[in-house]
Structure formats: structure tokens, C-alpha cells
């Protein structure tokens, strides 16, 4: 299924300043799209527009060419899943009960989860290798565990498209790697993954496509290597960076290192 945004524009007030101007991109199965931009450039706003939490003032988001606002809620949320930022807002139920909430679009309004729903919730925990957390309370999880639990909840809906809001923010190195590895392996199995990130290096390492938002609401979209360049980053973030390759353990890992703040 192809997720695309066509000339999306958004402003918080009618006729007010446009936060997003003519944003366009598309993502096919297996694509990992990284959305980059400085604080306040509208990354989270863009995600919320894509998912229909905010209404585009013009343009729209489409699934296989069909406008998403015309797709019934239940059908839409069986295809697309949303992973919010892990801010410790989780409820004090067990992890398994929490992950089951992700089955909402499959469970009837007056029904409760069936054995099938439990099996899917259990499977998505196993897929992310966090089955051992099932009976733990969400309030007792570490930041990394909570983020993985949120991804598991999204997977429980058996989506084809996964949209993640800064999934690796506030995590240590190891947990960042765990989350990013999960994204990569899901994409390898054909899932479309779209994620916001503060780290250009993560975009280079994990994404095949990148969308760079600049502070004036404009955007660039293309292959990650073509978009994440020293010049584009300088323009979008006001920071001079050095982009290079690190070699260790027989692997080559692209890296982006900030050098200095540019004067405008």
C-alpha cells in the first residue's frame, strides 16, 4: 500500500501563517522515511496531519490514491498504526493488557478481546523480543521498555504502515539501537515506516527516503543520501555538520557530526 501526501498545507489559524507549505512525499512497502527538521519546524504537526489528527488546510494524505479522510476509522486504523512519543503517560495496567488496546480497531464496540486478539498481542511482544515484560506494569517500565511496548501496541493492529513520533528520543545508546533495529527489521518484512527524528545520522543509517522540513514551512523530499547533505542541513538547522563514514567491526556506518553554529 502506498502512503502519500500531496501538496499538504497547514496553518493553525484559518488564513494564518502556514506551518507546512506544499509538503509532498510518498512511501511504498518496505520504505523507511525519516522526517527531519529543527525544533518548531513542524515535524510533529506533519505527523498529526498525515494521520488526520489535524486537518490539512489544503492538499491531503492518501492511501493508494484514496483520500484518507474518506476511509472509515476502523478500516484506516487496521492499515495504519501510530506510535506516540514515550512520555511516561502510560496507564498502570500490565504490558499485555496495554498492548491489547492496539487491537481496538479489530474488536467490536461492545466486545472484549478474544483469544485471537490475545494471540496477536502476544505475538507482537515476541516479535520485538519483549515477551518477558507481558505481566509487568506499564508504570514500572524503563524508557526503552515503554517505547518498545508502544511499538508492540501499534503492531498488534497488524498494520501495513507504521508512523512513529521521535521513537528514539530520550533513550540511551542501546535502547536507541533496539528501537531503530526494530524499525529496520519491520521494514525488511515489508512494513512502511515513517518516523520523526532529531538525529540526521539515524536518518542516514536507517532510512532510504528523507523529508527535510525548514523553518519557513518548506520541505525537501528524496532519497536519504540526496537530502541529508551538509548544505541542506546547514540551511534547515543553521548548523555546519560534517558527514562521514565510520568503520568498525566490519561495518560501515554513516555519521553526521555537528561542527559549529552558522551565523545568519
Amino acid at each position: 500500500m502506498i502512503l502519500s501526501v500531496d501538496n499538504g498545507c497547514f496553518s493553525y489559524k484559518r488564513g494564518g501563517k502556514e506551518v507546512l507549505k506544499n509538503v509532498s512525499f510518498s512511501a511504498a512497502p518496505g520504505d523507511v522515511v525519516a522526517i527531519l527538521g529543527a525544533n518548531g519546524a513542524g515535524k510533529t504537526t506533519l505527523l498529526r496531519c498525515i494521520l488526520g489528527f489535524l486537518k490539512w488546510s489544503s492538499g491531503g494524505s492518501f492511501l493508494d490514491g484514496k483520500n484518507m479522510k474518506e476511509i472509515p476509522h476502523r478500516a484506516l486504523w487496521r492499515t495504519v498504526a501510530y506510535v506516540p512519543q514515550a512520555k511516561g503517560t502510560a496507564s498502570a495496567t500490565t504490558v499485555l493488557e496495554f498492548v491489547l488496546l492496539g487491537r481496538g480497531s479489530h474488536i467490536g464496540t461492545f466486545a472484549k478481546p478474544s483469544a485471537t486478539d490475545l494471540a496477536y498481542a502476544d505475538a507482537s511482544l515476541s516479535r520485538l523480543r519483549i515477551g518477558h515484560l507481558a505481566q509487568k506494569r506499564c508504570t514500572e517500565l524503563s524508557g526503552g521498555e515503554l517505547q518498545m511496548t508502544l511499538i508492540a501496541r501499534a503492531l498488534a493492529a497488524q498494520p501495513q504502515i507504521l508512523v512513529l513520533d521521535e521513537p528514539e528520543s530520550n533513550l540511551d545508546f542501546k535502547n536507541q539501537l533496539l528501537v531503530l533495529e526494530a524499525v529496520s527489521s519491520l521494514a525488511a518484512e515489508g512494513m512502511t515506516c515513517v518516523f520523526n527524528t532529531h538525529f540526521p545520522a539515524h536518518a542516514l543509517q536507517r532510512a532510504n527516503k528523507a523529508l527535510l522540513l525548514s523553518a519557513d514551512g518548506g520541505s525537501r523530499f528524496g532519497g536519504a543520501d540526496a537530502i541529508i547533505t551538509e548544505e541542506n542541513i546547514r540551511n534547515a538547522f543553521g548548523v555546519q555538520v560534517a558527514i562521514g563514514q565510520m568503520q568498525a567491526e566490519g561495518k560501515t556506518v554513516p555519521d553526521v557530526v555537528p561542527v559549529e553554529i552558522c551565523e545568519f
Binding site: P84, S91, A92, T93
Partner: protein, 344 residues
């Protein structure tokens, strides 16, 4: 704590817990029927119940009248009010994602009380009292929501603060109603009713109030798994495919209708909506699959016991609210400290 087998149970009650919870109100009703100024032996109660189902038994007319004309309607009212206020407490806590949200702290109870008092002032019948209680209860929760919500997620403290303000506004309006009420006939009736008591219970008022409470409880019960989703942030809740505005509207309507119907039958009985859901949380966890039925059972049993104490502790009857607070507060503190607090 009983062990849950994850692949058989989505977090609902185990068979053992179910049996215990069903037994609680039954025991409470047995005790309440037996105890009072006129003691009735349990053997007699069984005989009398048996007689109603066609068995032969020698019965005492005076005891019969005490049991079935006075004690039973009062017990039924206590069961209903306890279950109703507990479930609406659960629903409000989930709706506002706030463990302190209850009919009392959100001003709903005060609003409903004012509506009922206003109807009493105009000498309206019970149906009008209920309707008016419902209307002003809804108005109160709406005011609290508008005052306490800011853009996006409402901060926890703000909603409760605005609830307290809305509550005190309606308390002031209740005082105004009392002030203009006729001191000979209306004022005593309104004042007595406001203190909260089950003593006025009769089958007629039960027949009028019970449907709203039972329907409200039933709807919240069948939606109980979705109450879990309601505690999530707005975006997350919508991402489960749930029709969030509809779910919120149904929840607030049911919880307010239940509160208003309870208030119109027995006045304002505080604490139950806060106390009972949290006792249930500490014992059965935060999953509403277990929490809603557990609150119904614990709430009804608790209220029956407290009402029995209210009519037997002293020669003259104690107002219920005094007792719920006096039993509730220390019990609550002990539970809270033993379980190390709670979260939604």
C-alpha cells in the same frame, strides 16, 4: 493475588474473584435484613424467603412488614446507589484520565443536588426532580470541563480545581434555594434530603430512579473494555479506531445520569465514587474489564453495610455522608499506604 494465565484471560476477573465478588453483596444484604431495632434471625429470613417461593412456613406479620416493607426497599436503594456511584466514579476517572475525578470532585454531585433542590422548591414530582438533577449535573460537568481543559491535554490538577470551583458555585446556589424556600414546609424537606439518607426509600421512588441507574451501569459495563482506551491521550485513543467524541459523550451521559438519579433518590452521599473504585483498583488492577464489575459489587456491598450502620449505631439515625467519610477516610489511608499508592 491470583495468577493470570495470559492466553486465556484479557485481564478480566478470574472465576475465584468472581465468586468472592458475587458473595459480598449477598452477605451484606443478609446482614442488613437481620440487623436493626428488631432483630430477625437468619433462619426466619430463609423461611420467609422460602414462603415467597411457595413453601409452607409460619410467619410473623410484624416481622414480615419490617423485613419487606421497610428494610428491603432501603437495602435495594443502597445497593443501587453504591453500585451506581462507584461505576460513575470509575467512568469519570477514565474519562478525565485522572484518579481524583469523581462525581463529587467534578462538581457533578453538587450540580445534580442543586437541580433536585430547585425542583423540590417548585414542588415538582419525583420524575421532574430526577430530570432537573440530570440537567444540572450535565451542566456542572460541562462547566468543569470548559474551565479545566486547556489546549490538548488537560493538566490533572486543573480539572479538579475547576471541579471544586463549579461544585462550590452550585453549593452556593443550593444555599440560595434554601434561603428562599418556605421555612415551614419546604426547607426541612430540602435540608433533610440534602444530608443524604436512605430512610425515605420506598418501592415507588425506586421504580422511578432505578431504570436510569441500571441502564447507565449496563451501558458502562458493556463498554468497559473501551474505558481502558479512554484513559489514553486523545491521539492514541483515536488511533485505535475508536469514535472518540461518541465514546466520550456516551460515558459522560451515563455517568452523569447515574449520579443524578442516585442524588434524586437519596441526596448527596459523598466518598463512594472515590473510595470504591480505588479499593477495587488496589485489589483487582486497573483494567476496566475487572474494575467495572468489581466496583459494582464492592460498591453495593459497602453502601449496604454503611447504611446498616447508619440506622443501627445510634438510637436516632445518622446521615450517611458522615459515616462514609468517617469510615472511608481512615480505611482509604490504610489501603493506600499498604499498597504503595495507585495510578490509573
Amino acid at each position: 493475588m491470583s495468577k493470570r494465565s495470559p492466553l486465556q484471560n484479557a485481564g478480566g476477573l478470574t472465576a475465584g474473584s468472581r465468586a468472592v465478588l458475587l458473595l459480598l453483596p449477598v452477605l451484606a444484604v443478609m446482614i442488613a435484613l437481620a440487623v436493626g431495632r428488631m432483630q430477625v434471625s437468619s433462619a426466619y429470613i430463609f423461611r420467609s424467603v422460602g414462603e415467597k417461593f411457595g413453601m409452607d412456613a409460619a410467619l410473623d406479620t410484624q416481622l414480615e412488614s419490617v423485613l419487606w416493607k421497610y428494610r428491603l426497599p432501603r437495602i435495594l436503594l443502597a445497593l443501587l446507589v453504591g453500585a451506581g456511584l462507584s461505576v460513575s466514579g470509575c467512568a469519570f476517572q477514565s474519562l478525565f484520565a485522572n484518579p481524583l475525578a469523581t462525581p463529587d470532585t467534578l462538581g457533578v454531585a453538587s450540580g445534580a443536588c442543586f437541580g433536585a433542590a430547585l425542583a423540590l422548591l417548585f414542588g415538582a414530582g419525583l420524575l421532574w426532580v430526577q430530570g432537573s438533577a440530570m440537567l444540572f449535573g450535565l451542566l456542572a460537568v460541562l462547566l468543569t470541563y470548559l474551565a479545566g481543559s486547556s489546549k490538548g491535554r488537560s493538566p490533572l490538577g486543573m480539572m479538579i480545581l475547576s471541579g471544586i470551583m463549579v461544585g462550590s458555585l452550585f453549593t452556593a446556589l443550593i444555599s440560595l434555594v434554601k434561603f428562599v424556600a418556605d421555612t415551614e414546609s419546604q426547607l426541612p424537606a430540602i435540608t433533610y434530603w440534602l444530608m443524604g439518607s436512605m430512610s425515605a426509600a420506598n418501592y415507588r421512588s425506586l421504580a422511578l430512579g432505578a431504570p436510569a441507574v441500571l441502564i447507565g451501569i449496563f451501558v458502562l459495563y458493556i463498554l468497559r473494555w473501551r474505558l481502558n482506551i479512554l484513559t489514553l491521550s486523545e491521539d492514541e485513543a483515536r488511533a485505535t479506531g475508536m469514535n472518540l467524541p461518541a465514546m466520550r459523550a456516551v460515558t459522560v451521559l451515563c455517568a452523569t445520569a447515574v449520579t443524578a438519579a442516585c442524588v434524586s433518590m437519596c441526596g448527596q452521599v459523598g466518598w463512594i465514587g472515590l473510595l470504591v473504585p480505588h479499593i477495587a483498583r488496589m485489589r483487582y488492577g486497573n483494567n476496566h474489564l475487572a474494575l467495572v464489575p468489581a466496583s459494582v459489587m464492592i460498591g453495593s456491598a459497602f453502601t449496604v453495610i454503611v447504611d446498616t450502620l447508619a440506622r443501627t449505631l445510634t438510637p436516632s439515625e445518622l446521615p450517611l455522608s458522615i459515616l462514609t467519610a468517617m469510615i472511608g477516610a481512615p480505611f482509604f489511608i490504610v489501603l493506600m499506604r499498604r499498597s504503595g499508592g495507585w495510578r490509573l
